[in-house]
C-alpha cells in the first residue's frame, strides 16, 4: 500500500506493507535511525516520536496509521541548525550516557514543556514514566528538563539577550 505523511516538515510518500510499524518505517525506510527500538511491549519508550505534536510509541503504531499526519523525530528537534534547549539541557546536565533512550526522552520532554513551561520535578518524572533509562538514574534527566525550562524562561524575559555559549 502507499502511505504519505509529513516527517520533520517534509512530505514523504512510500510504498509499504500494511503491517509495517512506524518505528521501522522511520528507521529502515527513511533512514531516520535516531528513533530507537528497545522492547516488544511498549514498555521502554526508546521509540517515542511525535504524531501531530503528541508523543507516541512508534513501535505500537502502524506506519499506515500515521498516513496524513505530521510526524516529528529527534532529527527534527533542532530548528534551523540551532539545538533545542532540551537538547542543550541534556548535554549540560549529563542527562544521557549511552544515548539510546535519549531521543525518546527528549521528544517527551519537549512536548511536556510545550504544555507546561515550568514543570516541577515530580511532573517531569510523571511525564517520562513510560520510558526507561538504564544509565542515568533519571535525576539528571529531570535536571536537564529543568535546565531547558529555566533557559527558556530566561530567554522569554530578555529576548534580545544573546546566549553565552552557543551550541557545541
Amino acid at each position: 500500500m502507499q502511505v504519505s505523511m509529513t516527517v520533520n516538515g517534509e512530505e514523504v510518500t512510500r510504498e509499504i506493507e500494511g503491517r509495517l510499524l512506524l518505528v521501522h518505517f522511520l528507521r529502515d525506510v527513511l533512514g531516520l535511525t535516531g528513533t530507537h527500538w528497545g522492547c516488544d511491549t511498549s514498555n521502554c519508550g526508546t521509540c517515542v516520536v511525535w504524531v501531530d505534536e503528541k508523543p507516541v510509541k512508534s513501535c505500537t503504531m502502524l506506519a499506515a496509521m500515521a498516513g496524513g499526519h505530521e510526524v516529528r523525530t529527534v532529527e527534527g528537534l533542532a530548528q534551523n541548525g540551532e539545538l533545542d534547549p532540551v537538547q542543550r539541557g541534556f548535554m549540560e546536565c549529563h542527562g544521557l550516557q549511552c544515548g539510546f533512550c535519549t531521543p525518546g526522552m527528549m521528544m517527551t520532554a519537549r512536548a511536556l514543556l510545550n504544555e507546561n513551561p515550568d514543570p516541577s520535578p515530580d511532573e517531569i518524572r510523571e511525564a517520562i514514566s513510560g520510558q526507561i533509562c538504564r544509565c542515568t538514574g533519571y535525576a539528571t534527566i529531570v535536571r536537564s528538563v529543568r535546565w531547558a525550562a529555566a533557559y527558556e524562561a530566561d530567554r522569554a524575559e530578555a529576548p534580545a539577550a544573546t546566549t553565552t555559549g552557543g551550541a557545541p
Partner: protein, 797 residues
C-alpha cells in the same frame, strides 16, 4: 581546576574551553547523541543486506527428534535456513564459552533451556525472516527439567550435560577460599554466632539496546567485518579466529555506539556466530538483532546465588569471622565471563571492609535447565553477591547485639594504617580510609536526626526504615600472571599520536557502553600533555584501528586503560623533552615541564609549547641525535594489582502498612574512587548503579515455573525502575588515591550496583523490625513484604 560535584544553574558554558585536564567537562560524545546521530549496530545499513531471525526452543529440556525446514526454504523471500545439523557439517555447532565450557550454537542433540537457539533463517527483510520461522516444524521429545537449584544434585536428577563424556550428574564445579579450620576455631569460641540464609535471585542487565550483529564476509578477500554489540572487541576477534578457523588478521570487529552493556555484551552469543555463518552461506551482509524477549530469556543473566552466611563476634561487637556456603546456579552451560582462575569471580572479597581473624567460603556450582551466563549486570565479577552477603549478615549481627549498624561497622573497619591490607582470603586492598567516608554519609543523611524521626514514627505505627551499607570493591582486572580470559592476559594497550599541529589521537583497547570514554580519556591525555581535551580525539571499538586489550567490564577501563593512557602520554612527553632540548639548545635535564610547555630552568622566557615541539618533531629541521622524528608512542599496561574503591550508602524507606509498598524516600551515596577525573561522569555512573540497586532490591527477578518456563521474558514481567520508583539521588565523595595507579584513580562504574542493594534491603528490614522481621529476600515486592509483615517471609526461589 575544580572538582566539585555541583551541577550548574541555568547558563551555558562551553567547558571544552578549560585549558587542560581533570574536572567537570561536558561530554564530547553528546552532540551526536542529542541529534539522533549515534551509530548503533541496528543503524548499520549495507547494500544488499539480509536479515536473520532465530528459532528458539519453546521448552526447557527436550531431545530434538526432527526439524523440517522445507516450507521455510520455499518462502519466496528466504535465502537460507540453517539448523544444528548444517553447523555440525561446518564443525560450528558448538563453541567455547569464556569459562572453558562449551555451548551449542544451534541445538544438535538436546534443548537445554527455554529460548535456546534451534535454527535460523536469513531473508530479505526483518518481517519475512520472522514469518519463515513459523514455517519450520520441529518435533521434540520433552524431558523432565532441572529447575530447582537445590535439587540439581539429587540422586536421579535428569542429567543436563550428557554431551560431556562420562557426565552422570549436574555438578559444575566446587570452589573454596579461606581457612576452614581457623574459621571453625574462631566460631567455636565466639560469644555470638549469627546465621542467615540469603538468596540473590537471578536478574538480567537488560540494556536498552538488545544484542545484535551485522556480519559482512568477503569471499574474495576471505575477510570478515563484524559490527557487533561487544564490550570486548579484541577478545571477541581472537575467539572468532579460534571458533571459526578464520585467520585473525582477516577479521575486523567493530563495536560502534553501544546502547548500554552492563556485562550483557561481554560473552559471545550464538546469534553472533549465526550472523557470521549466515553471511558466509549467502555471500551477503547479514543483520541479526534480537528482540527484547530473546535478550531476557537467552543472554547473560546475573547472580543466582543461594547463600548461607554465618558471622562470629564478641559480645561487645568485634567481628571475628565470616563463613559462607554458596549454591551457584550456572544454567545449562558455564558461560561465566570471569578470569579463568576465578570461577566464582571475585566473590572471595566477601570479608568486606572489616578486619577479621578468619574467613572461609565453600561454593558448589551446578547446571540447571536455564540460560547460561552468570557474570553480568555491573557486578564486578560477583562482588555484588559478596557485598550483599557481608552487609546483610553484619546487619543481622547488629540486630542480634542490639547495636546501631553504623556503630558496629565503625568498630570493625580496617584502619587506614593497616593498608595495604591482606584479607583472610588473600586479597591485597591497595588503599582505603573508611571512617571519614562513613561519617560523610552520616553527615549528608543527617543520620542521628533520621533515627529520631524513625522513633517518633514508630510510636505512631508508621513504618520507616534506615539502611546502611559499606562496601569495598576490587576492580581493574588485572595482573596478567593471575588473570586471563581463555589464556588472554588482562592487560590493555594504548597508542597516542600527536599530529604536527599539536592535536592528538589516542587509541584505546576498551569500549564505552555509555561511560563517556571519549571525554574521560581525552581528559587524562590532556592533563598529562597539557593540551585541551577538545584537541584529543579518542578512537575505540574497532580492532583494525586500536591496539589489543581485553575491553570494558568489571569497572576496568579507568584502572587499566586509564593507566595506559596516562603512561603513554608521559612517554610522549619524555620524547617531547628531547625535541625541546634541541630547540632550546640545552640539556634535557635542564628543562622544566609546565603543563603544555618546557622552559629552561631559571629562564621562563626560554620556552617551547607542546604544539611547537610537535611541529618540530615532524618538520624538516634538525632533531637531536638519535631522534627519528614524529611524536607518538604505544604502551601495554599490566596492572600490578586491582584497585579497591569503597563507599558508604544510607537509604531511607517508607513502607505503607496497608499495601506493603516500599518507597525509597532518600538515598545518600558517598563514593571514594580515588582521583576523580570527571566528577560529572562519576556522579552519572553512581546514579545509574543506584537505580539498578532499586530494581534488584524491589522489583527485578528472572524466575521460572516448574516446567522451566521463564517468567521474566518481557518488560511487562521483568520490571525495571522508572523515574517514579527512584528518588533524587544525594551523592558525596572522599578521595583516597590508589598508590599504584599512575594518576591514583580507581574504577567506579559498578560501585553503586554493588553497594546499593544491601542498603535498600537493610532499610526495609529495619522498617519491618516492629514485626520481628530479621530478614527478607529480594525482590521486596509488595506481596513479598506483605508476607514478611505476617511472619511468612519466604525465599523467592
Amino acid at each position: 581546576m575544580t572538582t566539585v560535584d555541583d551541577h550548574k544553574p541555568a547558563g551555558f558554558e562551553d567547558n571544552d574551553q578549560h585549558p587542560v585536564g581533570h574536572g567537570r567537562m561536558l561530554r564530547k560524545e553528546d552532540p551526536r547523541f542529542v541529534r539522533g546521530r549515534g551509530n548503533y549496530v541496528d543503524d548499520v545499513q549495507l547494500p544488499g543486506m539480509l536479515h536473520l531471525a532465530i528459532l528458539r526452543a519453546p521448552v526447557a529440556h527436550a531431545r530434538l527428534v526432527s526439524i523440517d525446514t522445507t516450507a521455510a526454504e520455499a518462502h519466496p523471500k528466504v535465502k537460507a535456513v540453517v539448523t544444528g545439523a548444517t553447523l555440525e557439517g561446518l564443525k560450528l555447532a558448538w563453541m567455547p564459552t569464556l569459562s572453558n565450557d562449551v555451548q551449542a550454537v544451534l541445538v544438535t542433540d538436546k534443548v537445554r533451556f527455554q529460548g535456546q537457539e534451534v535454527a535460523f533463517v536469513v531473508a530479505e527483510d526483518r518481517y519475512s525472516a520472522r514469518d519463515a520461522l513459523e514455517l519450520i516444524e520441529v518435533e521434540y521429545d520433552i524431558l523432565d527439567p532441572v529447575v530447582d537449584v537445590r535439587r540439581a544434585l539429587e540422586e536421579g536428577a535428569p542429567v543436563i550435560r550428557d554431551d560431556i563424556e562420562g557426565k552422570t550428574d549436574n555438578h559444575c564445579f566446587d570452589w573454596e577460599t579461606g581457612d576452614a579450620a581457623a574459621t571453625e576455631a574462631v566460631f567455636a569460641t565466639a560469644d555470638v554466632v549469627v546465621e542467615q540464609d540469603l538468596v540473590y535471585p537471578r536478574v538480567h542487565p537488560a540494556p536498552m539496546e538488545t544484542c545484535g550483529a551485522v556480519a559482512d564476509f568477503d569471499p574474495v578477500e576471505g575477510r570478515l567485518t563484524l559490527w557487533s554489540t561487544t564490550q570486548a572487541p579484541h577478545a571477541h576477534r581472537t575467539l572468532y579466529a579460534i571458533v571459526a578457523g578464520l585467520p585473525e588478521h582477516k577479521i575486523r570487529v567493530i563495536s560502534p555506539d553501544l546502547g548500554g552493556g552492563f556485562g550483557n555484551k561481554v560473552p559471545i552469543y550464538p546469534g553472533y556466530v549465526c550472523a557470521v555463518v549466515g553471511s558466509i552461506v549467502t555471500g551477503k551482509p547479514v543483520k541479526w538483532m534480537e528482540d527484547r524477549s530473546e535478550n531476557l530469556v537467552s543472554t547473560g543473566f546475573a547472580r543466582d546465588y543461594v547463600m548461607r552466611g554465618e558471622i562470629a563476634a564478641t559480645r561487645d561487637g568485634r567481628i571475628l569471622g565470616i563463613r559462607t556456603h554458596v549454591l551457584a546456579d550456572h544454567g545449562a552451560f558455564n558461560g561465566t565471563a570471569a578470569p579463568v582462575k576465578y570461577p566464582a569471580g571475585f566473590f572471595g572479597v566477601f570479608t568486606g571492609s572489616y578486619d577479621l581473624e578468619a574467613a572461609y567460603c565453600h561454593m558448589t556450582a551446578v547446571y540447571t535447565n536455564k540460560a547460561p551466563g552468570g557474570v553480568a549486570y555491573a557486578c564486578s565479577f560477583r562482588i555484588t553477591e559478596a557485598v550483599y552477603l557481608v552487609e546483610r549478615i553484619v546487619d543481622c549481627l547488629a540486630a542480634e547485639l542490639a547495636m546501631d549498624p553504623v556503630e558496629l561497622r565503625l568498630k570493625n573497619f580496617i584502619k587506614p594504617e593497616q593498608f595495604p591490607y591482606t584479607t583472610k582470603t588473600g586479597w591485597v586492598y591497595d588503599s582505603g580510609n573508611y571512617e571519614p567516608t562513613m561519617r560523610e554519609a552520616m553527615r549528608l543523611a543527617g543520620y542521628e536526626q533520621l533515627r529520631r524521626e524513625q522513633a517518633e514514627k514508630r510510636a505512631r505505627g508508621e513504618l520507616m526504615g534506615i539502611g546502611v551499607s559499606f562496601f569495598t570493591e576490587a576492580v581493574g582486572a588485572g595482573p596478567r600472571k593471575h588473570m586471563d580470559i581463555l589464556g588472554l592476559g588482562m592487560a590493555d594497550s594504548c597508542e597516542l599520536r600527536v599530529h604536527p599541529t599539536g592535536k592528538a589521537v589516542v587509541r584505546l583497547s576498551v569500549q564505552s557502553q555509555g561511560q563517556g570514554h571519549e571525554t574521560t580519556f581525552a581528559q587524562i591525555v590532556g592533563e598529562e600533555l597539557g593540551i585541551p581535551p577538545a584537541d584529543v580525539d579518542v578512537v575505540h571499538g574497532d580492532t583494525d584501528n586500536t591496539p589489543f586489550g581485553l575491553g570494558t567490564y568489571g569497572s576496568r577501563s579507568t584502572p587499566v586503560s586509564g593507566a595506559a593512557a596516562a603512561l603513554v602520554a608521559r612517554k610522549v612527553r619524555d620524547k617531547a623533552r628531547i625535541v625541546a632540548s634541541g630547540m632550546l639548545e640545552v640539556s634535557a635535564d635542564d628543562l622544566i615541564w609546565d603543563k603544555g610547555s618546557f622552559h629552561v630552568a631559571g629562564d621562563p622566557s626560554a620556552a617551547v609549547t607542546i604544539q611547537d615541539i610537535a611541529m618540530r618533531a615532524h618538520g624538516a629541521g634538525d632533531l637531536p641525535e638519535g631522534y627519528e622524528g614524529a611524536l607518538e608512542a604505544q604502551i601495554t599496561y599490566n596492572p600490578p594489582n586491582l584497585t579497591y574503591p569503597h563507599g558508604a550508602y544510607i537509604c531511607v524507606v517508607d513502607v505503607d502498612p496497608g499495601t506493603a509498598q516500599v518507597k525509597v524516600r532518600r538515598f545518600v551515596a558517598v563514593d571514594d574512587c580515588g582521583t576523580r577525573i570527571n566528577p560529572m561522569i562519576i556522579e552519572g555512573q553512581v546514579h545509574g548503579g543506584l537505580t539498578d540497586g532499586v530494581g534488584m532490591a524491589l522489583m527485578e527477578i528472572i524466575a521460572f515455573d516448574e516446567d522451566g518456563n521463564c517468567l521474566g521474558g518481557s518488560l511487562m514481567d521483568y520490571l525495571l525502575p522508572t523515574a517514579m520508583e527512584v528518588p533524587d539521588w544525594e551523592t558525596g565523595f572522599t578521595v583516597t588515591p590508589s598508590p599504584h595507579h599512575p594518576i591514583g584513580a580507581k574504577g567506579v562504574g559498578e560501585s553503586a550496583t554493588v553497594g546499593s542493594p544491601p542498603a535498600i534491603v537493610n532499610a526495609v528490614v529495619d522498617a519491618l523490625a516492629p514485626f520481628g522481621v530479621r530478614h527478607a529476600d529480594m525482590p521486596l515486592t509488595p506481596s513479598r513484604v506483605w508476607d514478611a509483615m505476617r511472619g511468612q517471609a519466604r525465599p523467592p526461589i
